[in-house]
Symmetry: C3
Subunit: 315 residues, 3 copies
């Protein structure tokens, strides 16, 4: 058994397989308990500085990481890079080296280019957390989804049937979650238009299906991806109306779901497109639990990576 | 006598009439004293998170709330929504639910639509504070104005003659302040071009006058509203030059004011338009006191709403 | 000997000559030691509020000041003024008075107009720190450069030969650094195209040379300025290619440098223009040390100016 400390979190693969993932989820339970205290703040990261380095807009993910950092008593700073300042600005290399030279302990990176966070690790000793890179990965999203699901599945995803629905090929959430759910023993089915599916399933431990209605009745979990409306012009995409008719989770489809089904969405939702409002706000939905658990997951990740915690095993 | 705790602050009406307003002003005195300490910071809100949710730009109001929150040891985060991200973004409902799911304790909302903060209260258990909604209300502005004025009027506004001057009908500051000053016993006169006055005085406990020069000599308080230059094109507005000539407070007019008059402005000022620089910086002006008191008022409001303080009475 | 307390830092001249500069550098050593502690944070400025008032974009300088302020336990707020809000907005005077009325302790100002920070001092009792004003000065940059250099020159710059290379006349960094290095006993040579040199050397205690290759071999320190690409269109500037050929520090030139030379750059770099990547990342470069020392320098400055520290002597 090899033993290594988690230094960065770039991909679900970094977590060390099922054992490592489960340890992280167990840790998250402890931090979730902290968030329920009357004073939900602990001095774990006093004096540590966490920088959000966001080359893509995402208030939601940034606020979640910043809330997590503040609950750990870290100082936070934001480095939001608009397109214009990228143009006239310095390279990613120089930005990262500059930030690190200031004595920053963790860098949360979102970037439109797959692989950018990995490059960042080559240039810094700070802990690097991938908050979404191109079509590649979004590992804290997968962790919070797994955490949420485990709580709704009596502690285990073994044999759970998960349908992930939408624009799979362009989605880092799908890519991370397929790895995550499969590692935890779930059976994943990808559903959506053929043009939005991966050409090969290498690296995607999942099945593919194109007819949502055939899949729904057997699914324990229905995971809807956000439709990127800017993709529709690209030709690979059906019209929004056709998409909603064939792959949207509306009330009629929801009526045929299993009674203990769990409906998930990473947000932000396009209500009326991939999910109807009555489903988003309905009894099966755990969407707001996902958000709440996201803070606890990010507390666990920041604590382990920026906190100089004891060595963690990875299988 | 009904007793209820103040959960949100959306309107001057929420404060519970004269009794409730006066208790809030008394509280503010205590927090003003805190701001004068050598270390002007108390641990009242440690572990609480206050989010500024601003759909309209206002650095001034946002900094005032954030300073107040930091002086109470709360953590603060900003969610500034530019027009572009609203377009592609999620609904106000989803934004609010997402923020709340992260475990936020208070949401300070500024929005261009009247009533938006009230809708926010339907979607969250966090305390909601209206920092200005469309033409509707801006209750913390009214509180800080009343607080400032009470200090200059020997503790009581009873019988004080207040002139509020400018574009009344479009002004949330006017609407909140008329209610506030009237509730505290002042006599309010609205002054400005007829086209910028409310069509009916229902809900406006005030008189209307169009000739500033007739009103000035009798006023104990002259409250100037900011002229929104973008309104001038609308046709209801005289030219800027005509406005300044007839309703601007210049040095000549200031010379005819009562010796103990108080000149107020909510800021930011258009110097040379609704107020001349020598008046803004002159002996009657309490404009910077308004700003300073604004931090203390917002400390009192945040403390009561986010702090889980003991139950407050409202008449 | 006159004695006065440093209230603002607008120019290298404010530091009180060699004695005052050396005391500030000695102080910086103490704060650098703080940044190397396991918990690099001290409660020196608890309850103080530091506002960054930036009328020009500079994430790098802003983050450095904010990191410094947070390591001193101050609260920080940012007031970034985009061009658009300046247009519709309030004057610098009103912004400063408003910020001060909120009870802010220090204002870090960056402004495109030379002299703007000095005007700010006329309107506020808060400590004002110039973080770059037009072509005028950038005193904390000069302090961090002197601090970095002193450590590499066995504690003294006496007799050190410093070449500063680039667009001298438009550079506030050059202006502050010439004063700084000369005050500490160094001999400064300015190098670059004649059109980019000051017309007179009054106020520039330095020599001028146009041929980089003649200067390099004798230099103990090579300080490269960032080429502002937007200046090239102005006619006073050679083509980028010509500039790089004649005044860029490439590997061939670096090979002829003294073995103990120090290569500096204030960042952000234009790699391949004024400096080649292999030089920027090579053994002579102390560029990242400059960044790291910048946080310690700004801690020292903020501590002295916002901290109500004991009276400091200035010669």
């Amino acid at each position: 058994m090899s033993e290594s400390r988690l230094r960065h979190l770039l991909s679900v693969d970094d977590l060390g397989g099922r054992g490592g993932i489960e340890r992280m989820l167990d840790r998250t339970e402890e931090f979730l308990a902290v968030t329920h205290r009357e004073i939900p703040k602990i001095p774990a990261l006093v004096g540590k500085v966490v920088v959000s380095l966001f080359y893509e807009d995402s208030t939601r993910t940034r606020l979640s990481f910043e809330t997590a950092a503040k609950r750990l008593s870290a100082d936070t700073m934001t480095f939001s890079v608009s397109t214009s300042s990228v143009k006239k600005g310095e390279s990613l290399l120089d930005t990262v080296q500059t930030i690190e030279a200031m004595g920053i302990d963790a860098i949360v990176v979102r970037h439109q280019a797959a692989g950018a966070p990995r490059r960042v690790t080559e240039w810094t000793d700070a802990a690097v957390i991938n908050a979404g890179d191109g079509r590649h990965e979004h590992p804290t999203q997968a962790l919070l989804d797994a955490f949420t699901l485990r709580r709704h599945r009596q502690g285990s995803l073994d044999g759970t049937r998960v349908a992930i629905i939408g624009d799979i090929v362009h989605s880092r959430v799908a890519r991370s979650n397929v790895k995550m759910f499969a590692a935890l023993g779930a059976r994943v089915t990808l559903v959506g238009p053929p043009t939005l599916m991966p050409e090969s399933l290498v690296g995607w431990p999942a099945e593919v299906h194109h007819d949502l209605d055939e899949v729904l009745a057997e699914s324990d979990v229905v995971y809807l991806l956000r439709i990127q409306q800017e993709r529709i012009a690209g030709g690979r995409f059906p019209s929004l109306r056709e998409y909603t008719a064939r792959w949207g989770l509306n009330a009629a489809r929801a009526a045929r779901l299993k009674p203990d089904v769990v409906v998930m969405h990473p947000g932000p939702m396009n209500r009326g497109v991939e999910i109807a409002s009555e489903v988003a706000d309905g009894p099966y939905s755990v969407i707001l639990e996902q958000v709440a658990n996201g803070v606890a997951v990010r507390m666990a990740v920041l604590y382990l990576l920026a906190g100089g915690a004891e060595h963690e095993e990875a299988a």
